[in-house]
């Protein structure tokens, strides 16, 4: 019998190899001159790294995400706590949230450009919008799902409202909030790339669209896409680490 | 009560526009007029239908491929181990980043947009179905096996009903994503649909009343799709799954 930890590496490795082989031969057999084989993409990576674009564009994208997401965090968590606490507030805000949520953050691009011009702020505003609503909704639901007993116990020990918020509601809601935060960060990363394809002239999204428009460099397009995927996985892993901290682990099912 | 938030939004909005004086951004009333104008010229129906058409095809194809694949991956642990990292790598890539490739393979047009919607929908669907299968409790599996069910019957009588509630939620959320993405894709890849309406209204003459009109329509249709899907959650075959989440955790 093969051990489980070994299988955890074996199967994904086999898939990766198989995917690369299929990709390579699919390109060869279809005799396409536009779509790059894996090796050309690797060369594309090297070229980007040499030109210094690789690091700079990745940093640009990450900077936008961190700023917009951080802003959404700072405003979204208090808003969510408030709406979770006050049913009246939630009922008033809910239709607005429901209406705004299905609007693609990218649909705000024209508005964003009017407000901030073509600049980093325009993109950061889009990231903010994209992550703000998921954070608010997750926090609100997290607070609402707190068992009444906890809140009553908090009252029983004569905590002030501020203490109840800080010592009961926030820790109790934290696991669910963190899941929301992780999902919101994923969305922010999706959106920054999309926004960069339209609104600015740097970043990984711009790299994708520019490599195509300027000379059909599909090797660079695919290299950029892979980099986007890898960074996205990294962000997700980072957030999952946070979920494994002892102060919140109780809220997640043993995996 | 539930309308007070919307009313407040409208009041604040018009007040902000009035105070700002000369601005490109429209007031609620000019947006309403813009929607009427679109309806009159027939653009309204044309763009809405174009967007819905793309969403429908891309989404349905993703359901047909993604749900069975996700169920399979959830059922076969080795298959899941093999494919999960690949799925994790693809997930954070914005569907829009595929636009160059979509255009390369399918040309500029509906097919490229449908492909983007398909890509955007299939990953969340696979993951939902996979997780739903994973959360079927061992007790329910064992009970089914104890009564001597064949694998086919086990799938039909235990697996299918057990995953339905989670699956329906996943279908609803994914339709939301598909709707988000079609609008974005239309801003880049095609020349019809609500996304195109927004970007075109801005580029051709800064008609911000039309921009916001497009956004309002997107929001309304999104809410409509969402509540239509919520209907499904109220079916008895699904509604049992939303009442006591504690039940599933206990096992």
């Amino acid at each position: 019998m093969v051990s489980r930890s070994f299988e955890r590496i074996l199967w994904p490795a086999l898939t990766a190899v198989l995917a690369l082989v299929v990709w390579h031969f699919a390109v060869r057999w279809t005799k396409t001159s536009v779509f790059p084989p894996p090796l050309a993409v690797a060369a594309g990576f090297a070229e980007l790294a040499r030109r210094g674009v690789l690091f700079r564009y990745a940093a640009d994208s990450l900077f936008r995400v961190v700023s917009g997401y951080g802003l959404a965090l700072a405003l979204g968590i208090p808003t969510g706590l408030l709406l979770g606490w006050s049913p009246t507030g939630a009922r008033a805000a809910n239709p607005v949230i429901q209406l705004l949520r299905p609007i693609s953050p990218l649909a705000w691009i024209p508005v964003s450009i009017v407000l901030f011009g073509i600049s980093n702020f325009a993109t950061i505003f889009l990231i903010f919008l994209a992550s703000f609503f998921p954070i608010v909704v997750a926090t609100m639901n997290g607070v609402r799902a707190i068992p009444v007993m906890y809140l009553l116990a908090g009252q029983n020990f004569d905590l002030s409202p501020a203490e109840r918020l800080w010592r009961v509601m926030l820790p109790a809601a934290l696991p669910q909030v963190l899941t929301g935060l992780r999902i919101a960060l994923g969305i922010a990363w999706l959106v920054v790339v999309a926004a960069e394809m339209i609104a600015v002239d740097s970043g990984l999204g711009y790299l994708v669209i520019d490599s195509r428009n300027a000379g059909k460099r599909y090797d660079l397009v695919v290299a950029a896409m892979i980099l986007i995927g890898v960074i996205g996985v990294g962000l997700n892993v980072l957030m999952r680490r946070v979920e494994r901290l002892r102060s919140v682990r109780w809220g997640f099912r043993a995996a | 009560m539930s309308c007070s938030g919307l009313v407040m939004l409208l009041v604040l909005w018009s007040a902000a526009i009035a105070l700002a004086g000369n601005t490109l951004l429209p007031s609620p009333w000019s947006v309403a007029a813009a929607i009427a104008e679109l309806a009159q010229k027939g653009f309204l129906v044309k763009h809405v239908v174009a967007s819905l058409f793309r969403v429908t095809w891309g989404y349905l194809m993703a359901v047909v491929v993604g749900v069975p694949l996700g169920i399979f991956l959830g059922w076969r642990r080795r298959a899941e181990m093999a494919l999960a990292p690949l799925l994790e790598l693809l997930r954070p890539i914005s569907p829009l980043a595929w636009i160059p490739i979509a255009i390369l393979w399918f040309g500029v047009g509906d097919l490229a947009a449908i492909f983007i919607i398909f890509l955007a929908s299939i990953l969340p669907l696979i993951l939902t179905a996979m997780n739903a299968v994973g959360s079927v409790t061992a007790t329910h599996w064992n009970a089914g096996r104890n009564f001597g069910l064949s694998p086919v019957d086990l799938a039909r009588k235990v697996l299918a009903p057990a995953i339905l509630p989670q699956l329906i939620v996943g279908l609803r959320l994914t339709l939301g994503i598909a709707w988000l993405v079609v609008v974005a894709a239309e801003m880049i890849a095609v020349n019809s649909g609500l996304g195109f309406l927004i970007i075109d209204a801005r580029n051709a003459g800064n008609r911000y009343d039309l921009v916001v009109a497009g956004m309002v329509l997107i929001g309304l249709i999104g809410v409509g799709l969402d509540s239509a899907m919520r209907r499904l959650e109220r079916l008895p075959a699904a509604s049992w799954g939303y009442q006591t989440p504690v039940e599933a955790e206990a096992a």
Binding site: - | T137, T139, H140, N142, A143, R145, N146, F147, G148, D153, K157, V158, P161, A162, L164, P236, A237, W240, G241, Q243, T244, E247, A250, A251
Partner: protein, 259 residues
């Protein structure tokens, strides 16, 4: 000396020999069951009694065919157990009730092959037997814990199995419902005479129900003692013999029955 839980082989319905179970998880080996020998007669009600986490549920899961033992054999009617079997139904603590089916649907779950009329008749019979008449169309989440437990027992009985395996079936119920359920089980057992294996950590429960109580040790579980309960049903819970037997087990486990 090992306690004798063995019978003359040809009289045994269920026969366990030299059973060992060791779990491996992340490089750690946990020995759960050690050298278990046990025979159960046709129609007997045997309670397996032990502290929580001692491995008695593992034993029942092996007998039920859901787990494969590390060593040793389990035979029923002379045939080795190779997997779950509809002739022998496992009753989980009410968690095995399918939440997506009504009471009727759950009880009829194992009756797929019967013609519709026969099926309806059987369902009606067992709904009545466990006292759920009037709740046929109810979904599990509308039922109390005791009612759900009865649905599971009825679902098991409906397929007319030879044996029932009950894994702490009343553990999640309040003490009054638990008493009611015990006498219900005895009533049904009296009517249907199934061979029953009943896992519990409740000493009183085992003495109230069983023909024989198999007392297990803590992990790795071995059979410490087999106590034959020579009391006729219905049992008088304040009779001297009942108290004697119960106190004997209390002492065996090392608990003083004084609080």
């Amino acid at each position: 000396m090992k306690p004798a839980a063995e019978l003359v082989p040809d009289r045994a319905k269920l026969s366990i020999r030299g059973l060992e179970m060791t779990f491996r998880a992340e490089g750690k080996e946990t020995r759960v069951l050690h050298d278990i020998d046990l025979d159960v007669r046709e129609g007997e009600l045997v309670c397996i009694l032990g502290p929580s986490g001692c491995g008695k549920s593992t034993l029942l899961n092996i007998v039920g065919g859901f787990l494969t033992p590390t060593a040793g054999s389990v035979t029923i009617d002379g045939e080795p157990v190779s997997g779950p079997d509809p002739r022998r139904i496992f009753v989980f603590q009410e968690r095995g009730v399918f939440p997506w089916l009504t009471v009727e649907g759950n009880i009829g779950f194992g009756l797929g092959r019967l013609p519709e009329a026969e099926r309806a008749k059987r369902i009606a019979h067992y709904v009545g037997l466990v006292g759920l008449t009037g709740f046929e169309k109810a979904y599990p989440q509308e039922l109390s814990g005791g009612m759900k437990q009865r649905v599971e027992v009825a679902r098991a009985l409906a397929v007319n199995p030879d044996m029932l395996y009950l894994d702490e079936p009343f553990g999640a119920l309040d003490s009054i419902t638990r008493l009611v359920m015990r006498s219900e089980l005895l009533r049904i057992w009296g009517a249907e005479r199934k061979t029953i294996l009943f896992v519990t950590h409740d000493i009183d429960e085992s003495v109230q129900l069983a023909d024989r109580v198999i007392v297990m040790s803590a992990r790795p579980a071995t059979i410490r003692r087999v106590v034959t309960i020579d009391l006729p049903h219905p049992r008088d819970l304040s009779s001297r013999r009942y108290l004697e037997l119960r106190d004997g087990i209390f002492e065996e486990i090392g608990l003083a029955h004084r609080i």
